[in-house]
Symmetry: C2
Subunit: 356 residues, 2 copies
Amino acid sequence: MKAVAVTREGSGPELIEVPDPTPEAGEALLRTLRVGIDGTDHEVIAGNHGGYPEGDDHQILGHEAVAVVEDANGTGLEEGSLVVPTVRRPSGADGGHFERGEPDMAPDGAYVERGIVGAHGYMSELFTSPPEFLVPVPDSFAEYGFLVEPISNSEKAFEHAFAARSAFDWRPESALVLGNGPLGLLTLAMLETERSPFDRTYCLGRRDRPDPTVDIVDRLGSTYVDSRQTPVDEIPEAHEAVDFVYEATGYAKHAFETVDALAPNGVGALLGIPEDWTFEIDGGRLHRELVLENKALFGSVNSNVGQYEAAKDRLTAFPDWFTDALVTGVYDPDDADAAFETGDDVIKTVVEFDTP
Amino acid sequence: MKAVAVTREGSGPELIEVPDPTPEAGEALLRTLRVGIDGTDHEVIAGNHGGYPEGDDHQILGHEAVAVVEDANGTGLEEGSLVVPTVRRPSGADGGHFERGEPDMAPDGAYVERGIVGAHGYMSELFTSPPEFLVPVPDSFAEYGFLVEPISNSEKAFEHAFAARSAFDWRPESALVLGNGPLGLLTLAMLETERSPFDRTYCLGRRDRPDPTVDIVDRLGSTYVDSRQTPVDEIPEAHEAVDFVYEATGYAKHAFETVDALAPNGVGALLGIPEDWTFEIDGGRLHRELVLENKALFGSVNSNVGQYEAAKDRLTAFPDWFTDALVTGVYDPDDADAAFETGDDVIKTVVEFDTP
């Protein structure tokens, strides 16, 4: 079958031919429809996540997928129905996190991640999986179901943010998304849906208008903040101190400037994964500000099945124009090179292996 | 009446004579029994908190008190019964925090703090208060009831810490208290009580044995960590990565080293209030560590009546030897100077105005 992978010899994503997978007992065989591409894929290609599957000289890419049950193989799944696979698989002692349905809380070393580290991804015509790692989705999800995975990461961040403020009567009004990449825009759309508790949102980027991401920010009814004019720590003065910050830039200074951007009792969710970077901060002021204004910061990675379920509702609630504008390119596996190209006109791309 | 205060002319706490207070309608008159001294009092004396009560040239000290209802004045309080007063009072638009019973979550500027900023404290023979800021305590609290206030601050920090981890099945085992001052030791005792979820605790200080605070750490069954030998970020290697960190040093680097000390999914509570201090951190690594290991940090200040109630239970559960060892001096108001002296033999002192 065709697969898009990185190899030890190659320098980027390549279309390769690999044997069709055979489902083991307890595994279903899935036929891939679409696989989305995000920043993590580019990090895998750059070798930052590393970790080829044991014994292999290639890593099949892709962790945002929607697929059809091709062969249920006794798993109880309905053949022909659609599923979205989760990312993490257990790889050792994990303190029971997988058993408790919380793979996202498993510590480093207790898991592999399909398409990211230590396990093949979904960017191939077929893949196999036990059913507990497959979330059923309706037939209408063939086109955009691959967005369930990234949305679920933000569902988790939202859950943790509200939990962190659940010891008192938190009444948030405003939210700020740091980053206008695909995850930032998806999150902004989530914050602008009907059931969002936030009245006002802001989205930080560093692009000049006209720009397709800024157009989306505008159309969502959010306020675009150009970080070149208004750094994160100046947002309270330029706009307002915000109750919730969602960081999706991976720019480490943003983690600390988030404390300044927050209103009293606010909470910041960090999702970026930066490299080492030493810099100066006024740690005394930040520490004091956290304490005297009851502010909170937390990191969040991955997601669980419950958060995939919430993501399905959220995706359904998005207006069509949003998903259409977000996905700027749909590519055949033969054009995988093009699917991974970045540029000012590219927001989110997807590799399409098949249609239902 | 006698009061212990700082004055604009003076250089430290002084015994002064002020008129007896008269309760207004809706206020009770309280006769002070004991008032504890903590680091905040020393900061008030040093002028770090500042803010004399409007129109006054002195600030009566003290925010950790236990008192007797001297004149209920129609408030419904029982004359002769004991109470512990809370610290914050509304001083303007506060977003409804006081009305909702959450004075501790009111933003800066929405409150004064008795004995700390903008309002007289309890270090006087008599004081007045509306009943909603007085927490009834049993007669047995005459001696150590002044500890309810500091304990309540840690009750709040615990509540917020567990809330911050309530979005998943958190199973903490180990806790680390940064600081072996009175608040650190009180918190350590709380973490070592029967109803604590923590199996193992550590307490960081920078004192040589023999030392009365280290003796308490030992006797509580905790492990003393000398920060001169084992800095906070090396605790995982020397002992173990911990699930909960409680910072009570006000040393700003500890806020950031807490991220290193935490185990995956751990949470750090910051309670210290440092001055500005610029230093270098590996912000990229800290940010990445927060994200990939789902770690959380939050600041916590002050407490609400519910947390005072919890603190009453906690104080009752302390073994007698602990409170006896913690309180190293009981002073007459005439010896207030001595009550504020610090030294290696001093842990917590109290000014005693009266007995029931």
